[in-house]
């Protein structure tokens, strides 16, 4: 299963109809597919925190939002996730390209990559790291969990995932 296609199918299965995004090289095909899908409003944003705000507004307007981002943007989103999404109980699906793991060629990605799971756990944000073969189901299920519990949920997809493993 192509990893990008599996994630995209998961989004469609979840009924995701709104996306905010900050690019990662591993998300480039997914970003094109989301932009090309007439059933998804796609809003490229300038930083991830802004995307948390845009997605919250979209949900208040009746949409099912996803934030497509790299884990390096988690740090600038933490206050918004806490004092907007947690405070008002607003759901959000976060599809996060997880850099800085095994096989990472860029040394600057490593510190935040190592810290990312712990940061999510400290924030009590459930996170899942499926293999490509499970990704469609996991992505769809992650949105169901976010919507049912009215909170942010993250799917962390590392370099091995994007290489199809």
């Amino acid at each position: 299963m192509d990893p990008t296609l599996a994630v995209f199918r998961g989004l469609k299965r979840a009924g995701i109809d709104f996306a905010a995004s900050v690019p990662c090289v591993n998300l480039q095909q997914l970003l094109t597919m989301v932009s090309d899908d007439s059933g998804i409003i796609h809003v490229p944003v300038t930083r991830e925190e802004e995307g948390v705000g845009v997605c919250a507004g979209a949900w208040m307007g009746g949409r099912r939002p996803v934030l497509l981002m790299q884990n390096s943007g988690l740090g600038n989103s933490i206050n918004a996730l806490a004092s907007l999404d947690f405070l008002y109980k607003i759901p959000l699906l976060m599809i996060i390209s997880h850099r800085g793991c095994e096989g990472e060629p860029i040394v600057g990605q490593v510190p935040m990559g190592r810290l990312t799971p712990g940061l999510l756990e400290a924030m009590q944000i459930s996170h899942f790291s499926p293999a490509p073969v499970q990704a469609e189901e996991t992505v769809a299920w992650a949105w169901s969990l976010a919507a049912a519990e009215r909170k942010p949920v993250a799917v962390l997809l590392d370099l091995q995932f994007w290489r199809g493993r």
Binding site: F18, A20, I41, V43, P44, V45, T46, R47, E49, E50, G51, V52, G53, V54, C55, A56, G57, A58, W59, M60, G61, G62, R63, P65, N79, A80, A82, S83, L84, L87, Y88, K89, I90
Partner: protein
């Protein structure tokens, strides 16, 4: 113009236009709650800087509803990228009102960069916002409230003596979403 007077003008315009109104954290939300509480008001209690972004997401999600955002100079300076995103999306049903009092009014009136010469109208234009202008008085603001894009409303520093908002986050959200989504179902019923 005092900020609470600008907020009262915007609230009246929002009511007349049946617009949804997103309001920045702190005294602006308290002043709005005091002058005109409506279910269509969303009072921010956290996430400083994101009023314009919440309003943009809402406007794009519900293109048939008019959305007005009441933001501050300090909050916009914290999220300047929002002006580029607004310019890129340019929804016709969206108006960002930046209440510029040249200071962080809710934290002791420390000066912001607009006090030192940063011109948010030029910043918005430079970001690509087609309709960006400054309202120096109530008359200008009244006209600007009929349009879209970005308006910088020059207001005096200082907060009105108003109480804290007596609604929980849950109450704010439930009331607001009831108002935001009810018109949608009414419209689809009319279409059916």
């Amino acid at each position: 113009m005092k900020r609470i007077e600008a907020i009262a003008l915007a609230a009246k315009a929002a009511q007349g236009q049946n617009a949804l109104l997103i309001c920045n954290i702190g005294f602006p939300s308290r002043e709005l709650y005091a002058v005109q509480d409506r279910s269509e008001n969303f009072y921010m209690l956290g996430s400083m800087g994101l009023a314009s972004s919440i309003g943009l997401g809402l406007a794009l999600a519900r293109p048939e509803r008019r959305v007005i955002v009441l933001d501050g100079d300090g909050a916009v300076l914290m999220n300047l990228g929002t002006l580029a995103t607004i310019a890129h999306q340019a929804p016709e049903n969206y108006l960002l009102v930046i209440l510029d009092n040249c200071c962080y009014g809710s934290t002791g009136s420390q000066p912001t960069c607009t006090c030192l010469g940063t011109d948010l109208e030029k910043v918005a234009k430079g970001a690509g916002v087609a309709s960006a202008r400054t309202a120096a008085n109530a008359e200008d603001l009244g006209l600007a409230l009929e349009g879209n894009g970005v308006v910088i409303a020059k207001v005096e520093p200082g907060n009105a003596d108003v109480p804290v908002i007596s609604l929980s986050p849950r109450e704010i959200l439930t009331k607001f979403m009831g108002a935001a989504l009810s018109t949608v179902s009414n419209q689809s019923m009319r279409q059916a």
